[in-house]
Structure formats: C-alpha cells, structure tokens
C-alpha cells in the first residue's frame, strides 16, 4: 500500500473534526451576512483589547510560574536518587486530573475555613489556581524528556564537569524543547480558561466569547471574538511543531541518577514533602466538607450528570484510543506527513475549548445536520477533536519502543497489515493504549468549556452542573459536587495506574 494513503485519510479526519470547524470561525461572520466590522471590533474595541491584554498577562504569568515549578520538580522526580519519587510524582500530578475550577473551589473551601478566602479573588488568586492546575504539564513533559536523553551524552560531560554544571549545560538545553512546549501549552490552556476567572471574579477574554454566545446568542460576534485566540495559538504552536523532529533524544533513554548528597538531600526532601502536603491539603478539605454536608442529597443532585459524564467520557476515550493508536503508528513509523498530524493534534488540544466549541457550532448548527447537532454525538466530536492528542501520544510512545524489524519479520512470513496490528503491535502496546484510554477518560470527564457550549438539552455533565451551581448554589453543595468530581477523577486515574502496572508485571 502507498505509504501516503493512511496519513492522507488521517489528515482528512482531522480536517473534518478539527480544521473545518475552525475555518468556519474565520469566514462565517462574512458568509452569514456579517461584515468586516465585526472582525475589527474583536481586535480594536477598548473592552476587547483590555480583556485580551489581561488574558495575555495572566497566561504569561501562569506559564512562567508553571515552568519555574514544573521543570525542577520534573528533574528531581525523574532523575535523582531521592526516595519515594514515584509516589511524589503521582501526588504532584493530581491537580492536572481535577478540573481547574474544581481546584479553585477546593482552595476556596480551605481558605474560607481559615477566614482567608478574600485573598483568592482577583489576579493573584487566578494566577495561583491556574499555576496549581497546570504546572504538572511542564513537570510530566520534563520527566518524560529528561528520562529519554541518551545517557552517554551526560556521562561524557561528567568526565569533565560536576553534575551541577552537566545539568545546566547538557541536560536542560537538551530538554529545552519539552520545557518550551509545556510552557506554551500552559499559556494556551490558561488563555482559554473560563471557569476559574469566572469563579474568582477576574474578567478575561474567553468569557467575552462565551457571553456573546450564551448571553446574547450572537454567534457572529462570538466567532469573530474567537479569532484572536486562534491566531495566538497558531503563532505559538507552529514554531514548536517545526521543532518536534529536531529534538536530540533517543528511545534508549537513561538510567543515570543524579546523586543528591549531604544537607541538600534533606533540604530537597523537605521541600518536596511540603509541596506534596500542600497539593493534597485542598482535596482533603473538600472531602471533609463533603462528609460533613449531606452526601446523599448531593449525590441525588449530581447522580444523573455523573452517569452522563461517565458514559460520554467512556465513549469519547474509546474513540480517541482507537483513532489515536492508528495516528500514533503513522507518527512513530515516520510515515509521510506525520509532522503535520502531530502539529494539528497538538494545536487542537492547545486551542481554547470555547474557540473549538464555537467553531463546531458554526459548522453543525444547520437544519440539515440537526439530527447530529441536537444529539450527544456533538459532544463526542468535541472531545475527540480536543483530546485526540492524548491517544496519539500514548500510542506513539508504545509503538516507538517496538523495533520495526518485528513487523518486517512478520511481513516476511506473510502477515498482512491487520495481522501485524492485532498479532504484533496491539499485544506489545496494550499497556500504553490502556494508559491512553484512562488519560483520555479523565480529560473528557473533566472537560467543561467544550461541553458547556455543545451540550444538547438534557445532556449536562458533572462539570457543567458544577459550573451552574458555582453561580447560584449553596457553598456546601458546590463543595460536595466538586468533591464528587475530584473523587471520580482520582478513582479513574488510580484504576489506570493499577491496571497498567498490573499489565507491565504480567508481561514481564
């Protein structure tokens, strides 16, 4: 089979689910009788510029702080000889698994109990909660990349310099791409965040899009307002996508450990343990509030939404894993145009959910596609478009570890593509695909921005319910729903860890 056919089909799918909705954003204000004036308003009115400026300052601050926290944490937890690194890494990942606005509620809950909730409102509070929610992205990318550096590169340097210099001159520069990618993702995710700024009363640009759409039902203006965010995402992601293939890492990876000796060992351990305690503290408070309230009543309020969330996230994760595994194969085996596939899935993830949501509405909200638009399928399409990258990354990581000679050997014995996929690749990458499924589930489960815009009547999910209650519910009920949200996400993540750990042991 021509090696261009499979990537071409994948690009077509990505165009259909992601790029086509985005292109409607660009042109629909004109096509539907709008005018250039709408575009100009998005870029030039005082209010828009003011909000855009705020969003940029906010996202830059969060991105810098997340880089400053996530990079050293990633190095410490992946490469040093400090004890309990895996446990700490799991704890420090938790804030990413919980929706940012649930994190905001958790911090509000604990500060409220201490009579300090006032300090959480406004710019510093939003920066704090978003940094808390997104630093794990930089941490996890730093961990993955620092482990993938060929060990000889550091060993060669160790013959001439101490570890401190080797980290500064060899390790960190080789990780530069991952750190920048992580910070760019944090920037874009912060830029698109709606829940936290709304809860903490800090007006930002994406809320403008949301209010044009949901308060004034003005789709043209919402679409035009999305364009600056789309442009910012493109400006950031295009150079990074270009650098993806030039990162000097190998899959051989490293087992070299950075020895932490003397007083530094106890200092760093104390800092990490304190950090882990601070990460767990708001969730403990949230669960405490949930326990002291009326859990039965909260469960009654949230039960249906919880079931819908589980059904949608489970279906979304399954589609993402299936599609992502094929895309991952194309990327890992370096098919033609695989760089484009990587760049597009990353862009779709990095785009603010509101932008993607408005684009999908623009494309599908027509009489002829009403059957699709008014069904939960529209939410699933939003999930797949936004989170397909998770399935792709998991599958790429798994397939890249399998030498292509295994497939070639099977081909020589007459195996076709389907037999190779089911007989060789699937059994060997099963653990990665299952990890990808759990990860995709958690992200679909926690999604708010896309679901809020796309949900058909009667299909509100747990995050949407939480957002509704945040505006006009009792604090105890809000804390209870946020607690259910956090507990469900953590249960799924823990199940994922246990399953993949079990599969790894079983295989070896």
């Amino acid at each position: 089979m021509d090696r261009r056919i499979l990537p071409a089909i994948i690009l077509l799918i990505l165009f259909f689910i992601g790029l086509l909705p985005l292109s409607t954003l660009l042109f629909s204000p004109l096509l539907k009788g709008g005018s250039w004036g709408i575009y100009m308003e998005a870029f030039t009115t005082r209010n828009s510029l003011n909000l855009l400026g705020r969003s940029i300052v906010l996202s830059t601050s969060v991105s810098l702080l997340a880089g400053a926290v996530g990079t050293p944490l990633g190095l410490l937890l992946s490469r040093t000889d400090l004890p309990a690194r895996r446990l700490f890494a799991a704890i420090f990942t938790i804030p990413l698994l919980i929706p940012p606005y649930a994190n905001a509620i958790a911090w509000f809950d604990i500060l409220h109990k201490a009579g300090l909730s006032g300090i959480l409102f406004g710019f510093p509070g939003v920066v704090f909660v978003l940094t808390f929610s997104f630093y794990p992205i930089v941490m996890l990318l730093s961990m993955a990349h620092s482990r993938a550096i060929e060990s000889h590169l550091e060993e060669a340097a160790l013959l001439h310099a101490p570890w401190f210099t080797v980290i500064g001159k060899i390790t960190l520069p080789l990780m530069k791409f991952s750190i920048l990618l992580g910070m760019a993702l944090v920037f874009l995710l912060s830029m698109g965040e709606i829940g936290v700024p709304t809860f903490l009363r800090y007006p930002v640009y994406p809320v403008e899009i949301l209010s044009h759409f949901s308060a004034f039902y003005d789709f043209h203006r919402a679409a035009a307002s999305s364009i600056p965010l789309l442009l910012i995402a493109l400006l950031l992601m295009i150079p990074l996508a270009g650098g993806m293939d030039s990162t000097p890492i190998t899959m051989k990876g490293t087992s070299l450990r950075i020895p932490i000796e003397g007083k530094w060992r106890s200092i760093l351990l104390t800092i990490i343990a304190t950090g882990a305690f601070l990460v767990l503290l708001p969730y403990a408070a949230l669960l405490h509030s949930m326990g002291t309230g009326n859990p039965g009543e909260v469960l009654q309020i949230a039960g249906d939404s919880l079931l819908r969330s589980i059904a949608l996230a489970g279906t979304g994760a399954t589609i993402i894993t299936a599609l992502g595994s094929i895309m991952g194969y194309v990327i890992a085996r370096r098919f033609p145009m695989s760089g484009w596939i990587q760049a597009i899935v990353l862009l779709l993830f990095a785009l603010p959910g509101a932008v993607m949501g408005v684009g999908i509405i623009g494309l599908w909200n027509r009489p002829i596609t009403e059957w699709f638009y008014a069904s939960p399928l529209i939410i699933l399409m939003g999930y797949v478009a936004r989170y397909i990258v998770l399935g792709v990354v998991a599958s790429t990581a798994g397939i890249a570890m399998i030498p292509s000679s295994l497939e070639e050997a099977a081909t020589l014995h007459g195996a076709g593509t389907a037999r190779i996929l089911t007989g060789i690749l699937m059994p060997l990458t099963g653990r990665f695909l299952i990890a990808g499924w759990f990860l995709s589930f958690v992200f679909c489960f926690r999604d708010f921005d896309t679901t809020f815009l796309l949900q058909p009547a009667g299909w509100d999910t747990l995050p949407v319910l939480l957002f509704t209650y945040m505006a006009n519910g009792e604090p105890r009920t809000v804390a209870g729903i946020a607690g259910i949200m956090a507990l469900s996400s953590l249960t799924v993540a823990a199940a994922g860890l246990i399953t993949t750990g079990f599969l790894r042991q079983w295989r070896t």
Binding site: E150, H152, E155, A156, A157, L159, H160, T165, K169, L174
Partner: protein, 240 residues
Amino acid sequence: MAHIELKEVSRYYGERPAVMNLTLSIARGERLVLFGPSGCGKTTVLRLIAGLIPPDSGEIWIDGRLASRNEKILMKPHERNASMVFQDLALWPHMTVRENLQFALRFRKIPPGERENRIRETLRTMGMEEYADVKPSHLSGGQQQRVAIARALITRPRILLLDEPFSSLDLETAYRIRSEILKLQKELKFTLIHVTHDRDEALHMADRVAFMRNGKVVKMSGVEEAGAYFEELKKRVQGD
C-alpha cells in the same frame, strides 16, 4: 606503582553479573585492550574505571588514590583525569564542535587564551579546523569520530578509555584514526584502555590483551602471544 588497579571488583545488573571478582593492574602509559564477545563485561570495566558506576564490591585505585569502593564513588568522574570515547560518540548535539571542546576544558585550570590555542591546535591535529563552528549532525561519521577523539584528548588526560569507537567506520578510516591515536599516545604517554571485539584492532592497539568472558579475565597476554592465541581460537572454532 600501577596507574590503575582493580581489586576483587564485582558489578551486577540486577541478578546478572557483569564483572565478577576482577583483579587487574594497569601500568602508567600502558595500552591495554579488553577483548571478548558482546556482554562479557568489557564496557562495564571502562565505566567502573571512569567512575560512571560504582562497584558492588571491591576497590578501584587510580594514581595511588582509592577511587571507588563497595558501592561508593570516592573520586568523582571529573576528578580522575580520564577521558572516554563512547561507542556512539556522545557528541553534544546542541553544541558546535568548538563548544564541545570548550566544555571539556571548562573545569581545567587553563588561562582563557591558552584554551583557545589548545582548541585550535587539537582541531588542526585532527584535521577538523574548518568545522569548528559546525554542529555534529552536519558532519560525516568519520568527522564525528575525530571530534569525539579531539574532545577526549584536549584535556591531556592521564587515562583514555575507548569503547569500541571504530565499530561503525569503514576499515580504512578506522585504521587511519587508530594510527593517529597511537601516535598521540606515544607523544602524550597517557594510559590507554581500549575495548573491542575486533582481532586486528586489538593487535594494532595493544601492549597487552585481556581476554574476557562472563565478567572475568580468562587470559592476559602480550601482543605476540595474543596473536598466537587468536589463531588457536580460530582453529578451535573451525574444528567445531
């Protein structure tokens, strides 16, 4: 006094022994070749001497100083005055050729002017002067090999460790670079420990050959005796 001494050194990777109760003494300025099949522990010996890994048991002495003992590295790798050329060369991809060499000199007490002179001189010796500002990925395999050797030699090390660095080169280039190293070794008188499983390479580079199998030295011999032993091994294999 021996330059490098390994006393009853063992090193395991999990349950698998890589080096077992190895005792070895290497004189200053000697050229020792570690010869043996893949997985017999040759590279592990180099890494133990470089201080990149500690022994699980036993002692390693360098220049009369205890360098490693029983799971502890007592002299850090950069304090051992050793350089190494890795099998995959390990050139830092984000640095130019000049920067690769500059990094190696970073912690040596050499005045900045002298540093630049030494970089120029080393690059000239290796025929790489015109590639000083090029990144390794833009060089051919042979050129990269020369840069790796230049980086190893620029510090004027007392110990040079070569981990099969010629295995990916064609015969002619490999022979030429080996000869250059031998010339430099005679000039600078560093102790050379060379890992290979190539018979001709072993005979070309060695004063002594240590034949290794299953983490142990099974025979130690001079070059002539090694040549005869190789013939004997060949006949034995053909007889099988």
